[in-house]
Subunit: 356 residues, 3 copies
C-alpha cells in the first residue's frame, strides 16, 4: 500500500506533528483514500459508518452456517495480528481476539510489559517496532494518552509499515467502542438512528464512551440528545460546544423518570469513581440514575436500552430479560464491528459482502 | 438446540434450584436427550462412557496421519472456545486447550481474574456472561464449589446459550478427570473393566479423583475394589455407603504388598497435604504406600499402574519404563477423551467415527 | 523416527552423560542423520547452515502472496507446539510463536511456572514430560544452564519422544540467535560471508550472542574478525583459543573509528550490566563504542550494521533510516530462520522449497 500524495508535507518530527489538530493528522493515517490506522473516532464519516455496519451485519449473518464461517476464516488466514494490551481490559481484548479469529488471523498476545525488554533500557518505540516485526497488524491498548498514535506514526515511517488499531488510549480515545455503540443504535432502532432521541444517563463528565459517541452524532440527521446526570457529573463544556457548532439539539436534566417516555434509546453508564480525586462519588445518590424494573412500563415499546458494561447497579438484572435490553447484544456487536473494521483495513470488506 | 420438555418445571431461582439432588438438576443441563453442559460425573452412564471411549479411540487413531488430523481439525473450525481458568492448573488447561485444537476450535484464554472487570464492581455472573458473548463453548475451572454449575445455569437462561464444561470446581467435581481415568482403565485392561479388581492406594480421604472414580464403578459389572490407605486417610463413609447401595464389593486394608498379586489395576495417589488442618501429614509414614521397583515382580503381568499426577514419591521413576506403567498414557488420554466429549457436545461424535 | 545406531552406547544416566564433550552428546540428539533436538550452535555445519538459509529465503518469498502463505500454513497444521518460556523474553517468544503460525502449527504457551504443578512437589522432569504429552514440539527457554538439554534427554528416553528446541538456556546456549545472525550476515553481504571482515563491538566479554556467533565463523572461509571493546570487556580467552585452533584471523582494539573503513559488517552490542558484580559498568565510558550518525560516511557503502537488540544508545536512531542498517530486518530474520528450522526438524524443508 502506498502513502497518499498529501503525505509529502508531513513533518518528520513527532513533537511538531502531534500538537496539530486531529483533522490535519488524519491524512497521515490514511492510504489510498482509506483509513489505514484506526486511532480517532473523528476518522469515521457517515459513509464509512454505514459501510462498516453493513459489513458487520453481513458477517454476522454469514457466521450462522459452517460454510459461511469457513468463508470468513478464509479471508485473512495469511495474516498475523498482535494484541498489545498493556492496560488490563479483558472484554475489549477478547472482543478483538475473537474478531481476528473470525477472519482467520493468527494471533499473538502481550498482556503485561514486565515480560518485555523495556526492562533492559529499550525505548518504547523500539519495543513496539520489535514486536511489530513478526506481525501484519497491531491492536493496542495503552494507558499513556497519545502512545497508540505515536506507535502508528513510528510504524508508518518505518520501511515495513503495519496498520495500528487503537483499543483504548489513556482517557482520550477508544474509537471502536464508539463504533460498536453506533452500530448497536443503528441496528436496534427501527429505521436507524436518524431522527431519534437518545438519552445519556449517569456519569457524563468522566465517561469516555458517552463523549466519543456524542461526537459521532454529527453524522446522523435530526438526532436529539438528552443528558441526564447528577449536577456534579454533567457533560463537559467542550462537547456541548461541539454539539452547538453542529446544530445538534440537546438538553440537560437530572431526573431520569421524566426522560423515559420520550427516549428512543437510553444509554446507561456506570459512575467512574476510579477517577475520583477526593472520594466525591461517595456522598452522591447515584441510585436516582439507575434503571429499575418499575421504569420499564414508561419506556416506548421500541426503546433500546444500552450500557457499555461492566455495570454495577445501573440496570436491575431482571431487566436483562426484557426485549428492549440490548446491552448484551451490544457487547457481542463489538466483536462483529471490529471484525468488519479489520476486514476493511485489509481491503477485504467487499469479500465479506460477497460471502454466500 | 432446544430445551427438553422436562425443563418447563425448572425453578427460575438459583437458590431454589441448587439445593436439589443432582439427579433432579441433571435434566436442566441436557438438550435433546444429550448432555449439553458437562458438570457432574453423575451425568455419565455406561452407554455414554462406552460411546465416548470409542470416539476417543477413533480420534487417536485418526490423528496418526496428516489426513486424519486435518479431517479432525475440520470438524469445528467454525467454533470458538474460551478457557476460563481462574484456579491454577496447567496440566488440565493444556489438556483441554490441545483437545480444542485437535478439533479445529479457536481458543481464548483467561488465566487470571485480576485482569478482568471484576475489579470495577461487576458481578461474577455478568463477567462470565460477557466473556461468553464472544465464544461458542466455555471450559471453566474455578475454586468456588458450585460456581461452574451456576455459570451453566446463568448461560442456559440467557438468550444465547453456550455449553459449559467443568474443568474442576472447588473440591467437589472434576468430571473429566474421572472420565479419563475410566477411559485409561478400559483401554489398559484386557477385555475392559468388567470383572476386574482395582486397588486404590494412598490418600483416599481427600483425593477428589478416587472419590469420583469410585462413583463411576457402578457402571461396570462385577468390579471389586480394594482401598489401601493409612488409617487416618481411609475412604469416606459416603462413598462406602454408595458402594454398598450398588452392591459393589470392596475391602479396606493398610498393607500395599498383600494387594499387589490380586490387582488388575493399581491407582496410586499423592498425599493431599495442602488440605492439612494441623500438619497431620507430617507425622505419617506415607512411604509404605509408595510403589517401588521391588514390587513389580509381585504384580500380574497385565496389571495397569495408574496415577492422576503430579506425583512426588508414590511411584519410583524407574517404574516408568515398565510396560505396565500407564500413567503417562493416562495423562495423554485426558486430551483424547476431552476432545471426544467436546465433539459429542457439538454433535460431531458420529463425524469423528466416520473419519477415514 | 528411529534412533541412529550410534545411540546404543549412550549411558542411561544423565549425570554420566552430561559432562561429556558436546561433540559426543550431539549424536544422541540426531535421528536418521538429521538434527532432531536443536540445543547447541555446534550442531550446525556449513551444509546445514546453507540449507536452512535457503529454506528461510524461500519461505520469506513464498509468504508474499496469499497462495504461498496458505501453502506454508498447510505444511504442519496437524502438529502442535508448546512454548515453555520460564524466563522472560518477549521477542524470542514472539519470534518462535509466529514461526510456528507461519507453518500452521497450533500453539500452547507456558510463560510462568507459578501456575504449574511444580508447586505440588513434582520434579521438573515430570512437569516437562507432562506438558509434552499434549504436543509434538517443545520450544523452551529456561534460566538454568543445561535444563533444556536435560529435557531433550528425558524426552528422547521416553516412549513418546518429542523434539526440543533451545530458545535460550541460562547464559550458555542460544543457538537460534546465532543462526539468525549468520542468516542476516549471509543475506546482507554481497556474495555472502566468505572472505569478509566482521567487527564485533561492545561488551564482548559477557555478550552470549557474540560468543556463539564467533564459534559459527569456523564454517566460513577466509573470514577476519575484529573485536572492538573497552579493555575490561574483551572477548574471553576460550573463544580466542578456539579461533586460533581453527586458523581464523582476528585482532583486538579499543577504537571503533579506526575499524569503520575496513569492516564488511559491524555487529554492535549492548553493555550487559545485569551481569555486573560491583557496578563496574557505571564508571565505564561506553559511548566510545556507540555508532553515531557521523560514523556513516566512513563505512563502506555495502557495510551491514547488525545489533541483536534491544539497544540502548549503541546505535543512534537516525541511523535506522540508512540503507546499511539491517538490525530490524535481522530481528525479522529470526522468525524466518526459526520457521525454516522447525520445517527441517519435521522433514518439511523440501516441501518449503517446493512451494510455488
Amino acid at each position: 500500500m502506498e502513502r497518499a500524495p498529501t503525505m509529502t508535507a508531513v513533518p518528520r518530527d513527532w513533537e511538531e506533528f502531534h500538537p496539530r489538530p486531529v483533522s490535519e493528522r488524519v491524512p497521515f493515517f490514511t492510504r489510498k483514500g482509506r483509513l489505514y490506522d484506526c486511532l480517532f473516532a473523528q476518522q469515521f464519516d457517515r459513509k464509512l459508518l454505514d459501510h462498516l455496519c453493513r459489513v458487520a451485519d453481513h458477517l454476522r449473518a454469514a457466521m450462522k452456517t459452517k460454510e459461511g464461517a469457513l468463508a470468513a476464516a478464509n479471508l485473512l488466514p495469511h495474516k498475523r495480528a498482535m494484541l498489545y494490551f498493556v492496560q488490563p481490559s479483558t472484554r475489549t481484548f477478547l472482543s478483538f481476539l475473537n474478531a481476528c479469529h473470525i477472519l482467520g488471523l493468527r494471533t499473538s498476545e502481550i498482556r503485561d510489559t514486565t515480560t518485555s525488554s523495556e526492562v533492559k533500557g529499550e525505548s518504547p518505540e523500539d519495543t513496539v517496532r520489535t514486536f511489530s516485526s513478526y506481525v501484519d497488524l497491531i491492536i493496542m491498548r495503552h494507558p499513556a494518552p497519545g502512545f497508540v498514535e505515536k506507535t502508528a506514526w513510528v510504524m508508518n515511517r518505518a520501511k515495513r509499515a503495519v496498520p495500528v488499531i487503537n483499543g483504548g488510549s489513556g482517557s482520550d480515545q477508544h474509537p471502536t467502542q464508539a463504533l460498536l455503540d453506533v452500530y448497536t443504535l443503528c441496528r436496534s432502532l427501527p429505521g436507524g438512528l436518524d431522527g431519534k432521541t437518545v438519552a445519556f444517563v449517569g456519569d457524563l463528565k468522566r465517561g469516555r464512551t458517552v463523549r466519543s459517541l456524542s461526537y459521532l452524532m454529527k453524522n446522523y440527521k435530526d438526532v436529539k440528545l438528552v443528558f441526564v446526570s447528577p449536577p456534579q457529573l454533567k457533560m463537559e463544556a467542550d462537547i456541548l460546544a461541539f454539539l452547538k457548532r453542529h446544530h445538534i439539539p440537546y438538553r440537560e436534566c437530572d431526573d431520569l423518570t421524566t426522560v423515559l417516555p420520550e427516549a428512543d434509546a437510553i444509554y446507561m453508564t456506570r459512575i467512574q469513581d476510579e477517577w475520583d480525586k477526593a472520594n466525591e462519588s461517595k456522598g452522591m445518590d447515584y441510585s436516582r440514575f439507575n434503571l429499575k424494573q418499575e421504569h420499564l412500563a414508561k419506556l416506548k415499546p421500541t426503546c433500546a436500552i444500552l450500557h457499555p458494561l461492566p455495570r454495577r447497579h445501573e440496570i436491575e438484572t431482571t431487566i436483562d430479560d426484557d426485549e428492549r435490553a440490548v446491552f448484551w447484544r451490544q457487547e457481542r456487536n463489538g466483536m462483529w464491528i471490529r471484525a468488519a473494521l479489520i476486514a476493511y483495513i485489509f481491503g477485504q470488506d467487499k469479500e465479506v459482502l460477497a460471502i454466500k
